[in-house]
């Protein structure tokens, strides 16, 4: 298979093999008002992996809120997680959770953070459609709680769902309040 040697432009033909190797945007949604959840339903099963990229802010009157994820609307005590975050001081904060009712997947800035600021978050869900083994999640996130250097956070971690069911629905929830207007989540499907 010959790959294009220049940028593809409208009208160019690319092969099915090339097309099938590209990630596909499944959905891209921006909250037009404060929302309780981002609830992705009817996720197709034919991709190898899912990738969420999020731009989040909460409306709760605090510096931050945690981001939690649920699969297939399962609110049972079936989630485990381990996260860390660091900032510009000699400290490392960690959060571990076992048998929780949702998977903690990071944190994002909220009501008392600098105005108009949003936090980035990316979530990988590898092999999400397999119906044999438990599912797992890899996360990166960041937040700006103040304008000082010590108010800048970055973190990451992993979480898992004790279920062999194929994932067809992913719900993002804030630990307090709502996702603020302007929060955006894009979901990509990655081929194998």
């Amino acid at each position: 298979m010959a790959w294009p040697t220049t940028a593809v432009v409208t009208g160019d033909l690319i092969t099915a093999a090339q097309l099938n190797g590209l990630p596909v945007k499944i959905a891209d949604s921006t909250a037009g008002s404060a929302v309780a959840t981002f609830d992705f339903t009817s996720i197709p099963s034919h991709y190898a992996h899912l990738f969420f990229i999020a731009y989040l802010r909460g409306d709760t009157a605090a510096g931050l809120a945690n981001l939690a994820v649920r699969f297939n609307n399962d609110s049972g005590a079936n989630y485990d997680a381990m996260l860390f975050n660091i900032r510009d001081v000699a400290t490392l904060a960690t959060v571990g959770a076992a048998a929780a009712t949702s998977a903690v997947c990071g944190a994002f800035q909220a009501g008392t953070a600098p105005a108009n600021s949003f936090g980035p978050c990316q979530i990988w869900v590898p092999h999400y459609a397999n119906a044999v083994n438990h599912k797992t999640v890899d996360v990166r996130y960041g937040m700006k709680l103040t304008t000082a250097s010590t108010g800048q956070y970055t973190g990451g971690g992993q979480a898992s769902w004790r279920s062999t069911a194929a994932i067809n629905r992913v719900t993002l929830l804030p630990s307090a309040g709502n996702f603020d207007t302007g929060s955006r989540v894009t979901l990509y499907g990655y081929p194998g």
């Binding site: 981002f38 009817s42 001081v89």
Partner: protein, 151 residues
């Protein structure tokens, strides 16, 4: 109470096919447009979705049961977060905690010094060590030098 923001990925895919058909038609790619239209039509029939535009993104009010569950979730999350705050010293950094420890140490040392409990530096050193239950002699000596004004 804010709504759920429901994104139906199947409806999004059908919409994408319909838009691809329109784009292909505009580019004069009639065969591609026809294929995209057929794929969209088949997907629509298979899905049972009647209005992909409306169903691709919807704001759905929480049901009473969902509202109750959400309140319980967020209460549990707040409790868990409070426990983490306690464990991490209410988010004090290591440096901040060291500062607090150092301030306490200096206050204790000054109290002893001002009370003339010990008369010479060696006794002071031993006394501080006993008082604090610490074996960190280097730190104590550093503190003493600071108190003496020799450092």
């Amino acid at each position: 109470m804010a709504d759920r923001f429901v994104i139906n990925c199947e409806a999004q895919a059908i919409l994408a096919l319909q838009r691809a058909a329109v784009s292909a038609e505009a580019l004069g790619l009639h065969r591609d447009a026809e294929q995209a239209r057929a794929a969209a039509s088949n997907a629509l029939l298979a899905s049972g979705i009647t209005d992909p535009e409306a169903e691709a993104e919807r704001y759905v009010p929480l049901t009473p049961a969902e509202t109750t569950a959400r309140t319980a979730d967020q209460t549990a999350a707040a409790t868990a977060q409070a426990a983490v705050d306690v464990l991490t010293g209410n988010e004090l950094t290591l440096r901040e905690r060291a500062d607090v420890a150092l301030t306490n140490l200096i206050a204790g040392a000054n109290a002893i010094k001002n009370g003339n409990l010990f008369t010479d530096r060696t006794v002071n050193e031993r006394g501080y060590l006993e008082l604090l239950g610490r074996t960190d002699a280097a730190l104590i000596r550093l503190l003493l030098r600071k108190l003496d004004g020799t450092d």
